[in-house]
């Protein structure tokens, strides 16, 4: 059957449970210890405040030599997140390092909610709204609305 779980993953999982990051939770599936249900709270002061976003995370065979795979399951209006919940974030791609962990990646994602980066967009339509100065209030309003509509507990 499946190869035993590497020590590194066991350690990370234990620490996520014993010392959880405030506003973030990650728990492995019973039938697949590399597959996590994740919850991230929208950061205070951002247009995602008050929202609880659910994500899924998977540690591929090559982890930690390659980054975890992760995506939003909750619909979200954000220039770096596409319509299928895929995330454009440097540390999930070229800037991944095995020194990073599930915990640090989830914190980076939470930070990305607080600081959208429309100059490196994944969702062109949203990024366009976000970048045009006159449209930005509208974009932020939409992000708030979607948070209220889709990201409630």
């Amino acid at each position: 059957m499946t190869a035993p779980l590497p020590k590194r993953i066991i350690k990370e999982t234990e620490r996520l449970q014993s010392e959880p990051v405030p506003g973030i939770s990650a728990s492995p599936h019973d039938d697949n210890a590399r597959y996590f249900d994740v919850m991230v709270e929208g950061p205070g002061g951002s247009c995602y405040e008050g929202g609880v976003f659910s994500l899924e995370l998977f540690l591929p065979d090559d982890y930690p030599m390659c980054p975890p795979r992760i995506r939003f399951l909750t619909r979200i209006y954000h220039p770096n997140i596409d319509r299928l919940g895929r995330i454009c974030l440097d540390v999930l791609k070229n800037n991944w390092s095995p020194a990073l962990q599930i915990r640090t990646i989830l914190l980076s994602i939470q930070a990305l909610l607080g600081a959208p980066n429309p100059d490196d967009p994944l969702n062109e339509a949203v990024a366009k709204q976000w970048k045009a100065r006159e449209n930005q209030p509208e974009a932020i309003k939409t992000a708030r609305e979607w948070t209220r509509l889709y990201a409630n507990k």
């Binding site: 499946t2 597959y35 899924e56 998977f58 591929p60 299928l84």
Partner: protein, 139 residues
């Protein structure tokens, strides 16, 4: 054995492969609705194999990946009319158990595997000269 890739990440891999066109040229597939977070409904096309009655025809199919995919196969339905022993002539449903190399479903099989196997089945000596419905008609 390696890590078991969960359904959604497996479907994302298939989607990316399909979008990049890394797959076989004669078959293609993609999500029916680009914002379907559950990635349930897909469209597929098969270009009829050469030297058969299917030559130059483009067949459209619907593929439905349920919650237990890829542990269980998706359901596959022809939209375009076709006359094949593995296709229900009333509604276009494909009976995957009639396709020799994928009759026993394996988790490694993908939507691409299915489309390629259907195409191969079209070109099989027993099927390639079967009379076909008028081109462009749908179930």
């Amino acid at each position: 054995m390696g890590a078991k890739v969960p359904r959604n990440f497996r479907l994302l891999e298939e989607l990316e492969k399909g979008e990049k066109g890394l797959g076989a040229e004669a078959c293609s597939y993609g999500l029916d609705e680009g914002d379907d977070l559950l990635m349930t409904n897909w469209n597929g096309t098969i270009l009829g194999p050469p030297h058969s009655n299917h030559e130059n025809r483009i067949y459209s199919l619907k593929i439905h990946c349920g919650p237990s995919y890829p542990d269980s196969p998706p359901s596959v339905t022809f939209i375009s009319k076709v006359n094949l022993p593995c296709v229900d002539p009333r509604n276009g449903n494909v009976d995957l158990s009639k396709l020799p190399s994928i009759a026993t479903w394996k988790r490694d099989f993908t939507m691409e595997t299915i489309l390629i196997e259907i195409r191969r089945f079209m070109a099989a000596p027993a099927n390639k000269k079967t009379a076909q419905p008028a081109e462009g008609t749908n179930f």
